[in-house]
């Protein structure tokens, strides 16, 4: 159910959907081969349900979309970046828990 709230982004959509958006966005940069990324997947889905209408919760597969991760010098995943008004508000790397992500999202929600 909650999974339907997570938008899967492409490089082509990034600017329009994240940088120019009215709502803040959390982007989870991930890849299918990454164990920790897989582990936080369910947390991301839960957050998407809880922050629906307040923060856009999105994921970007770095294998399929190399441009955006390159632009933000991402060489470790999972990296989660919180954007608001086209700017980075906060950023975290690693299999962080729901509590920490909630604290991060509450800065903009």
């Amino acid at each position: 159910m909650a999974g339907e709230n997570v938008k899967h982004l492409t490089d082509a959509e990034f600017e329009e959907y994240v940088l120019k958006a009215d709502l803040p966005s959390l982007v989870d940069f991930w890849a299918p081969w990454c164990g920790p990324c897989k582990a936080i997947g369910p947390v991301i889905e839960e957050l998407a349900g809880e922050y629906s209408g307040k923060v856009q919760i999105t994921k970007m597969n770095v294998d399929d979309n190399p441009t955006t991760p390159g632009k933000y010098s991402i060489r470790a995943i999972p990296t989660l970046i919180l954007f608001k008004g086209g700017e980075i508000v906060d950023q975290v790397t690693g299999a962080v828990g729901k509590t920490q992500l909630t604290a991060m999202l509450n800065k903009v929600a």
């Binding site: 890849a31 081969w33 990454c34 164990g35 920790p36 990324c37 897989k38 582990a39 936080i40 947390v43 294998d63 010098s73 991402i74 060489r75 470790a76 995943i77 999972p78 990296t79 790397t93 690693g94 299999a95 962080v96 828990g97 729901k98 509590t99 920490q100």
Partner: protein, 309 residues
């Protein structure tokens, strides 16, 4: 004991904590597992595990954890996500305070907070973490396709991951401060046979440099000769340090590195407090003995609790 929330709290959800949770839940204890991130611990960053019995073809770290977690769920283990900032221990009551201010109390406690990768503590290491400096080959390896990288270390993790990294990197140079490896022989043989792996012996990395990302490192050998190597990535795999920051070490008893001392039943010197897994003072840090210690600690907790009745 009306003012105590749980019979048992397990602090940390790696293989030791999950196994302790499995045993305790099957024993129908009123038990809670507290984890600050997601369950799994260091196993999550392990690409492939070939030495956990029952998986003849090996298993990925994340799959193994998923199976362990599913097994605890089957018996109704309750888990809570929260960052513990304070641990207070007395013979009759164990109290954990979370970052949110919430307090959790129990009669018995099993500490499974584990360990995390050690750092070199050299210039550039912190600045470039996530930008070429990595402690996790399986998470970050694919960012270094067709690039030249180095691995620092000579133990099992360093040598296994150096081999793994040759799937992506054009060349992996292992830099080790001694003239031989500590890693298991099978891993050594594989690494020595791998044409993409080179070794620099008797040497240490002394600096990591670059503009926005890692571009080169400085290496010094035991003859005090220094040279620069152009690399885009450096994987630092030099053992672990204990996650003990919130633990009352003096009360619990620890070795000089800060790992918790226990007896062979995983009991610390505080009544009703056990420790299991990588946080324990010991020589061998494998998934198999982490899990085994979790089982022993849960049984010790059951014995302790039944003595309270």
């Amino acid at each position: 004991m009306a003012n105590i929330d749980y019979q048992l709290i397990i602090l940390g959800g790696g293989p030791a904590g999950l196994t302790a949770g499995l045993y305790a839940a099957r024993d129908r204890l009123n038990v809670l597992l507290v984890e600050k991130g997601v369950v799994g611990g260091q196993v999550l960053v392990t690409d492939w595990i070939d030495n956990y019995p029952g998986f003849p073809d090996g298993v990925s770290g994340s799959d193994l954890i998923e199976k362990m977690a599913a097994q605890t769920s089957r018996f109704g283990l309750q888990t809570k996500n929260g960052n513990v900032v304070k641990v207070e221990l007395s013979a009759t009551k164990k109290k954990l305070t979370l970052e949110s201010g919430e307090e959790l109390t129990s009669q018995a406690l099993i500490i499974c907070t584990g360990a995390r990768p050690n750092k070199l503590g050299i210039p550039g290491e912190e600045k470039f973490t996530g930008k070429g400096v990595s402690y996790c080959a399986t998470c970050d390896g694919p960012f270094f396709r067709n690039q030249e990288i180095v691995v620092v270390g000579g133990g099992d993790t360093a040598i296994q991951e150096a081999d793994f990294l040759t799937k992506f990197a054009s060349k992996v140079t292992v830099i080790h401060r001694r003239d031989s490896l500590r890693a298991t022989k099978v891993l050594q043989e594989k690494a020595f046979a791998n044409e993409r792996i080179e070794f620099i012996w008797n040497s240490q990395v002394v600096a990591i440099e670059g503009e926005k990302e890692v571009e080169r490192i400085k290496v010094r050998n035991i003859a005090d000769e220094e040279k620069e190597i152009a690399v885009s990535g450096i994987f630092i795999l030099i053992g672990t340090i204990p996650n003990n920051e919130v633990l009352p070490l003096e009360q619990l008893g620890s070795d000089k590195h800060g790992f918790i001392k226990t007896d062979q039943e995983m009991r610390t010197r505080v009544p009703g407090v056990m420790a299991a897994g990588d946080i324990r003072s010991k020589h061998v840090r494998q998934v198999i003995n982490g899990a085994g210690e979790g089982a022993v600690a849960a049984i010790a907790a059951e014995h302790y609790l039944s003595g309270l009745d």
